[in-house]
């Protein structure tokens, strides 16, 4: 139980979005609904894990001078491959996320983890790091999208990206009490600020407790 709690705390503290403030551009843009958030999150988990593994595997033969171009080639190849696969098998995600799938190439989480972790650590550790960071990123997207979708439309729904059929749809707020502004860019910034403040508050409280213990 304690390790699960620790893991959760680490996800929060080392969270790429709300802790390290990485990859915020796509976070703001695509968190309009839960479907988009999960689609983007899964793509990033896959790309981040594979790119960490590949970059870690070639870390000993990659000359230091050209490591960044090599990382970019690896990441861009993965993203393009995933983009083609999404276009072919999950066109609904492609329609919803559009340009933000190719833009994963420049998502700083991926290059950041390649440079900070995968280039210095073993393959297994790098895979786990990629998975962890991807999950943390996905959870941040899901949190943002839940707040925004519920406030803006009053409905939470999820559909199967491969067949485009609805899995569930729950109405939480009657349509006359919704706040549509939360589906626009302003709502994205507001939600992000509130959630980031919340995460900071938790982190500060934790630090104080540690100091008090000493």
């Amino acid at each position: 139980m304690k390790s699960v709690l620790n893991y959760g705390m680490n996800l929060l503290k080392e969270n790429p979005v709300f802790g390290l403030y990485l990859g915020i551009c796509s976070t703001l843009a695509i968190t309009i609904n839960l479907n988009n958030a999960l689609g983007m999150g899964l793509s990033v988990i896959i790309i981040l894990t594979i790119s960490n593994v590949v970059i870690s595997a070639i870390r000993k033969i990659t000359p230091d001078e050209i490591r960044i171009p090599v990382y970019i080639v690896v990441i861009a190849t993965l993203v393009k491959a995933i983009e083609l696969l999404i276009k072919a098998y999950a066109p609904a995600i492609d329609q919803a996320l559009g340009i933000f799938i190719p833009l994963i190439v420049v998502n700083c989480i991926i290059l950041g983890r390649a440079e900070a972790f995968a280039s210095k650590n073993g393959v297994v550790a790098s895979a786990l790091d990629g998975l962890n960071m991807g999950v943390a990123y996905t959870l941040s997207l899901v949190a943002m999208s839940l707040v925004r979708q519920i406030l803006a439309t009053g409905i939470v729904d999820l559909s199967n990206p491969f067949t485009n059929t609805e899995i569930f749809s729950i109405t939480l707020i009657p349509s006359q009490y919704t706040i549509p502004i939360f589906s626009s860019a302003i709502g994205a910034f507001l939600t992000f600020a509130l959630l980031a403040a919340g995460v900071s508050a938790i982190k500060n409280a934790e630090e104080k407790k540690l100091k008090g213990a000493k």
Partner: protein, 167 residues
């Protein structure tokens, strides 16, 4: 000197490998992506050309730049996916023209102009005033929604021009 060659060769190898992988994935997915593209508009195409089930995307030349895609309904006619600038946003529609040059269908898929005015271009009254006419006949605009309806008519003209080159 040796160092530079080493770096160059390494990066070239990595890039070549990446290119190979992408080529493979592309070969694997491109036929499926083509199918998906057609599937997305197939419902619209079938409601326009009720008689046939055989559609394919075709290449075309368009001087106006309004026509986005062109599809051939084999044996029946052609359909054009058109995007024009409306009053405050683009208007997207699919227009079907049969082999005799008659407009057999018009389906407005996206319009974001003033509700009650520009939005009328998506309503049956306007659509029915166009469907059934020859492409070279004169078509009426909607009073009060001149800009939006004119945009659609301009788009139909572009489609008709492309249709002229295909025949």
């Amino acid at each position: 000197m040796k160092k530079i060659i080493h770096l160059t060769v390494f990066l070239a190898l990595v890039s070549a490998l990446a290119g190979g992988i992408l080529g493979y994935v592309n070969a694997l997915t491109s036929p499926i992506i083509e199918e998906q593209k057609i599937a997305a508009v197939k419902a619209s195409l079938q409601s326009i050309f009720t008689g046939t089930n055989d559609f394919k995307e075709i290449n075309f030349e368009d001087a106006s730049g309004n026509v986005v895609n062109a599809y051939e309904a084999v044996g029946a006619g052609y359909a054009f996916n058109v995007e024009v600038q409306g009053y405050k946003d683009v208007i997207r529609f699919i227009v079907g023209i049969d082999n005799t040059g008659k407009i057999v269908g018009l389906e407005v898929n996206y319009v974001n102009d003033t509700p009650g005015l520009g939005s009328k271009v998506a309503e049956p009254e306007f659509i029915n005033s166009i469907v059934g006419k020859q492409v070279d006949a004169s078509l009426d605009v909607i009073s009060g929604a001149t800009i939006s309806s004119n945009a659609v008519l301009k788009g139909i003209d572009s489609a008709a021009a492309v249709f002229g080159t295909l025949k």
